[in-house]
């Protein structure tokens, strides 16, 4: 766990230097995932580039969410789920026995499909992560983190005068931005987003998409989406999954304009889905 922490802060300082770290933040090699006897992912090899938005697309049940949940080991919560292969975060195997998932998830945050604010005040929602990780030593520091996170999530102007009101009272789009603010409050390196806009209306979706674009300055983002338009709008890299296989991966523009694989071609033109 200490390893991960020191490695991470090392990486963070590298990021601040003008020389850009070109090494991928995540590398997945030969990842197989099984739910009981059923194989959900088959030999996935995928690199996640740093400070970019990578989108995972594909028809329902193709394994894109499963892969996303391997990256912060949320799959551990599913009793029958088994992950094989090698996933490295900054060169460390995240499935190694000495890894503490709690520390891992501090560095790899997650935003879920349905906005899931805690039934607490807006302030306490954001402060939850910093509090459990002991990131602050004083109330004013915590206040700063809450404000910073809400600013970053583009929610500060809307809620700054009612931080003590319950987070569940916000609109769906605001709730999702609250969840994003909550995730970035613990200063993760990577944010995983599992169809973050699928429960939102088009206007709220547009706000979140702009937000994702701004967030990649500071964070690496991996987003699962059903909408190819969304993938094209927000991501720089796209990976196309089909029936548990990673069919094709590449720069988003290239993948959408000149896909190499016939299945990708069929999916983006709407023939399979």
């Amino acid at each position: 766990m200490n390893n991960i922490v020191t490695e991470m802060s090392g990486a963070a300082s590298v990021q601040n230097k003008p020389a850009v770290n070109k090494a991928p933040i995540f590398t997945a090699k030969n990842v197989d995932v099984y739910y009981g006897a059923k194989q959900a992912l088959d030999k996935i090899n995928l690199d996640i580039p740093r400070n970019k938005v990578t989108s995972l697309i594909g028809p329902s049940g193709c394994g894109k969410s499963t892969f996303l949940r391997c990256l912060n080991r949320m799959n551990d919560l599913v009793d029958i789920c088994r992950v094989e292969g090698d996933i490295q975060l900054e060169g460390q195997d995240i499935y190694a026995p000495e890894v503490d998932v709690v520390a891992l998830r501090q560095h790899v945050g997650m935003v879920f499909q349905k906005p899931n604010p805690f039934p607490k005040s807006i302030y306490d929602n954001i402060a939850y992560g910093p509090r459990i990780h002991g990131l602050t030593s004083s109330k004013s520091e915590l206040d700063d983190i809450v404000e910073w996170s809400l600013q970053r999530a583009g929610l500060w102007k809307e809620v700054s005068d009612r931080l003590q009101e319950p987070g569940t009272g916000l609109s769906g789009g605001q709730q999702q931005r609250l969840c994003i603010a909550r995730a970035i409050a613990v200063r993760p390196e990577v944010i995983l987003m599992d169809e973050p806009c699928s429960a939102l209306d088009p206007i709220a979706t547009a706000t979140i998409e702009e937000l994702i674009d701004e967030l990649r300055e500071k964070f690496t983002i991996v987003i699962v989406t059903h909408s190819m338009q969304q993938a094209a709008r927000v991501s720089q890299r796209t990976a196309f999954f089909h029936l548990g296989n990673l069919v094709e991966t590449g720069a988003t523009k290239t993948l959408f304009t000149s896909p190499e694989d016939e299945r990708t071609q069929n999916y983006i033109t709407g023939r399979i889905g």
């Binding site: 009793d79 709690v102 945050g109 899931n116 805690f118 039934p119 992560g129």
Partner: protein
């Protein structure tokens, strides 16, 4: 539509089906009658409690009943008999009931709640599949079995343990009855709390775990605060069960109406006294017999209030996440 079909369409029979409507009416009637029986009997019991209690309060003033501290319901058969005046102060009965229920809740709350948390949050599905039914078997043990276990095993054990450390433990102690009653209501608390904890949406657990909380942080900071109203409801329900419990206290708590807070002494409860008042041959209109109705009414009112409050809390909580 062909012209032929159009011609037959006029003859479609939609006014009289071939199944009789009377069958439906009879079925409805039987069903209504069955539910009415249950309701009417309940209403009847409540009224009988009320009227007999009123007859009791004609003989003994209500203030004496509610605030008197001496309970000895012997009434004279002959005028010169010893202890001719019965005393009907229910306070020792009420405190005895509360003392035993309190001990029971002290045992059952932590055990029931923690096993619910274990079952819903930590146990694997396989463990859960056999532990949960096992816990629920506890609920199926007849209370009379609990009763003689308390009277014949636990009470003597407490007494000898007490003696070995120099404490004087009555052979029918509130402690023995309370401990066993606690064991009896564990499954009630654990299964209700388990339902309530499971009703906390998985998305809240995911959110907390996804932020890097440990399981116990998630339980303390997210799940318990969300589940606390429902848990409170289940505790109230368990308390009302403890207050109304009869067999265990009849067998293990005794009939001595002591006004005490010492769990090592013998106390008696409302339910145990009702049993004592009505067993054997009794004159039906003596104050002694009628006092059982007043006690029954008191018990009914208390448990009714507890049940209503707890069901309200539980239901309100359930709606919250629908």
């Amino acid at each position: 539509m062909s012209p032929e079909n159009a011609a037959t369409a006029a003859k479609l029979n939609i006014t009289a089906g071939n199944r009789s409507k009377t069958v439906e009416m009879i079925v409805t009637g039987v069903l209504i009658a069955c539910s009415l029986v249950a309701i009417l009997v309940t209403v009847g019991i409540v009224f009988s409690l009320l009227f007999e209690s009123l007859r009791f309060f004609e003989r003994v003033p209500m203030s004496e009943f509610l605030f008197g501290t001496k309970w000895s319901p012997q009434t004279a058969l002959r005028a010169d008999q010893v202890a001719a005046d019965g005393a009907f102060g229910a306070v020792p009965l009420i405190t005895g009931t509360l003392l035993i229920s309190f001990i029971a809740m002290c045992v059952a709350t932590p055990l029931g709640l923690f096993s619910a948390i274990y079952l819903s949050e930590y146990a694997s599905k396989r463990t859960r599949d056999w532990v949960k039914p096992l816990l629920e078997i506890l609920a199926g043990i007849p209370t009379v079995v609990y009763g003689f276990f308390a009277a014949l095993v636990v009470a003597p054990m407490l007494r000898s343990t007490g003696e070995s450390v120099g404490l004087n433990v009555s052979s029918e102690s509130a402690l023995a009855a309370g401990l066993i009653m606690g064991v009896m209501i564990i499954p009630l608390i654990s299964s209700l709390s388990d339902d309530v904890i499971n009703a906390v949406p998985q998305s809240l657990r995911d959110a907390s775990l996804g932020l890097g909380s440990t399981d116990s942080e998630t339980i303390r900071n997210v799940i318990l605060p969300a589940a606390i109203p429902g848990i409170a409801g289940s505790l109230l329900l368990a308390a009302s069960r403890a207050i109304g419990e009869t067999m265990i206290v009849v067998m293990a708590a005794g009939l001595a109406a002591n006004l005490t807070a010492n769990p090592l002494e013998a106390v008696t409860t409302i339910t145990a006294q009702i049993v004592a008042l009505l067993t054997g041959d009794q004159e039906f209109d003596s104050a002694k017999t009628l006092s059982a109705f007043a006690l029954g009414l008191l018990l009914f009112i208390v448990t009714l209030i507890l049940n209503v409050i707890s069901l309200k809390i539980v239901n309100k909580y359930r709606e919250q996440y629908d």
